[in-house]
């Protein structure tokens, strides 16, 4: 009887590193003052463009889009922390162990999931009213669930990026930032996805945020959950589906890289 829970167990212990990393990057003070405040201002910065356009609708559209974008942004920042695994020098040890690599990497940066959801929630629920966006409790719960789904699905996408960065460690910053910028551009954050030509729209469908954001917008615009339940569910299912595909791709890519590394000798011990 194969030990099906082993990947889960490994994931859980790998997440210990995620938690430890979090408090190396941030202290509670710097997280609130240095990070949360900055992302809130980021949302405001983009929402204010609506003032320039003299359109309240634009303000709200930009506000919601950019607030949800934060969740995707933080999930994408996992690319940098996931690749810290390689800097630790543990790669040969991981390869030589009888368990596969992918659960280790999946668990490695999960701290960005709850933080991304929290930050976006603060933006939406605490700042939202100032921008004319209000929530019933039912709406808030649904939005929260959507944010969690967006976080996980985008994280899976980021895992593929991490696997790529493992082969070119110095590019972690570039890849992470470019991925965020492209997401911001085409996933319906700033302008509807339909703004773009067909081929760009097609690419946008591959981004988990596109569908999750659509679901959240459906809830926000409708002012009540009931009528749009179907639309929301569809958006979430798509988000989960796309995320699952990215996760599969990440696992396959990681194992492939490990095998290739064995051939070329690129898996280093310490020093």
């Amino acid at each position: 009887m194969p030990d099906l829970l082993r990947p889960v167990r490994v994931l859980r212990y790998s997440a210990g590193n995620a938690w430890a990393d979090m408090w190396v990057i941030f202290s509670p003070l710097t997280w609130i003052l240095g990070w949360v405040s900055r992302v809130l201002v980021q949302v405001v910065f983009f929402a204010l463009i609506g003032l320039l356009l003299d359109s309240d609708d634009a303000v709200r559209y930009l506000f919601v889009g950019n607030a949800v974008m934060i969740t995707a942004m933080e999930a994408t920042m996992s690319v940098t922390t996931t690749t810290w695994e390689r800097r630790q020098g543990t790669m040969p040890l991981l390869v030589a162990a009888p368990t596969r690599l992918w659960p280790v990497f999946v668990g490695r940066s999960v701290q960005w999931l709850p933080t991304g959801v929290i930050t976006a929630s603060v933006a939406l629920f605490a700042l939202g009213p100032a921008f004319g966006i209000e929530w019933t409790p039912a709406q808030a719960v649904v939005v929260l669930a959507c944010l969690a789904v967006v976080a996980v699905a985008t994280y899976c996408f980021a895992l593929v990026l991490s696997a790529i960065v493992l082969t070119a460690m110095d590019l972690h910053n570039v890849i992470s930032n470019v991925a965020q910028a492209i997401t911001m551009l085409i996933a319906g954050v700033m302008v509807p996805v339909s703004f773009w030509p067909g081929w760009v729209e097609a690419i946008a469908q591959a981004l988990p945020l596109t569908h999750g954001l659509a679901a959240i917008r459906a809830v926000t615009d409708a002012r009540a959950v009931g009528p749009v339940a179907g639309e929301v569910a569809a958006g979430l299912v798509l988000t989960v589906g796309v995320g699952a595909l990215w996760l599969l791709a990440a696992a396959v890519l990681l194992e492939y890289l490990a095998a290739a590394g064995r051939r070329t000798g690129s898996i280093e011990f310490a020093e």
């Binding site: 710097t30 990070w35 405001v44 910065f45 204010l48 320039l52 634009a58 551009l185």
Partner: protein
């Protein structure tokens, strides 16, 4: 003067190698597309000048924050700081040269955003007062360099300041009226914004991009210069204090 030139040349060489630091130059064109898309969707193609200026100014400030701000701190980290201080050349002079190099390189953000607008959206933003525009850009760059001097001193004097490095971006883009002029912002923000040279620069640059003659040019330029020079003077004082502290105590940081 040699210190300035030495610093300048050195930093140009360093920048050629450490491309990763200039990440802002990679994301700049994408930001241009973002702003252009938003105004086009909003049916306001006339705001194209705003849309190309904003990313250029964001790059200017962002690069100053990340690259210039880190200059002294990085020297300390790779342990070349003491060696630099020990040279006969003026440390402040070398630093100024290096910051100048970084600032000049970051000006390519302007070219990038104009080019991105043209290549992707087929939007060519005209510059009715080219000489004036360039002058304003240069004076803005000067003010940026002065401000970068303060950044680099602060980030080495107060180690904890680096944790807040990230949060010195968007707040200043808002206060600096980088995309949305501060005249559109709530009134209570105006006094604070006026202390940030970016707010004067962005207004002035936007005016320079409109065909009408630019009002109060001289006085506004003067304000930018004053703010920039004040920052530079403060920065130099802090740098001197940094170096003194290093010589006296053997360490740099207060916090």
């Amino acid at each position: 003067m040699t210190a300035l030139r030495t610093g300048f040349q050195f930093e140009m060489r360093v920048l050629r190698r450490s491309f990763g630091e200039l990440i802002a130059l990679v994301t700049a064109p994408l930001m241009t597309l973002v702003f252009l898309a938003v105004i086009r969707e909003g049916g306001r193609d006339d705001l194209a000048p705003y849309a190309v200026l904003a990313p250029a100014l964001i790059v200017l400030w962002g690069v100053a924050l990340i690259v210039s701000g880190e200059l002294i701190a990085q020297d300390r980290e790779n342990e070349s700081l003491e060696a630099m201080v020990a040279t006969p050349a003026s440390f402040a002079g070398v630093l100024t040269g290096r910051i100048t190099a970084v600032t000049l390189v970051s000006l390519t953000g302007f070219a990038e955003s104009w080019l991105a607008a043209f290549l992707v959206f087929n939007v060519a933003v005209p510059i009715p007062h080219p000489g004036l525009f360039i002058l304003i850009v240069l004076i803005t760059a000067l003010a940026m360099a002065g401000t970068a001097c303060v950044m680099s001193a602060v980030f080495v004097l107060a180690r904890s300041a680096r944790a807040f490095q990230n949060s010195l971006t968007y707040p200043f883009y808002v206060l600096g009226g980088v995309m949305v002029p501060i005249s559109l912002l709530p009134g209570w923000l105006e006094p604070i914004s006026r202390l940030v040279f970016l707010s004067w620069s962005s207004d002035l640059l936007r005016d320079a991009l409109s065909p009408a003659p630019v009002p109060d040019l001289a006085s506004r330029l003067a304000v930018i210069l004053v703010l920039g020079v004040a920052a530079y003077v403060l920065g130099l004082a802090l740098v001197r204090r940094t170096v003194d502290r290093l010589r006296r105590t053997g360490s740099l940081t207060y916090a």
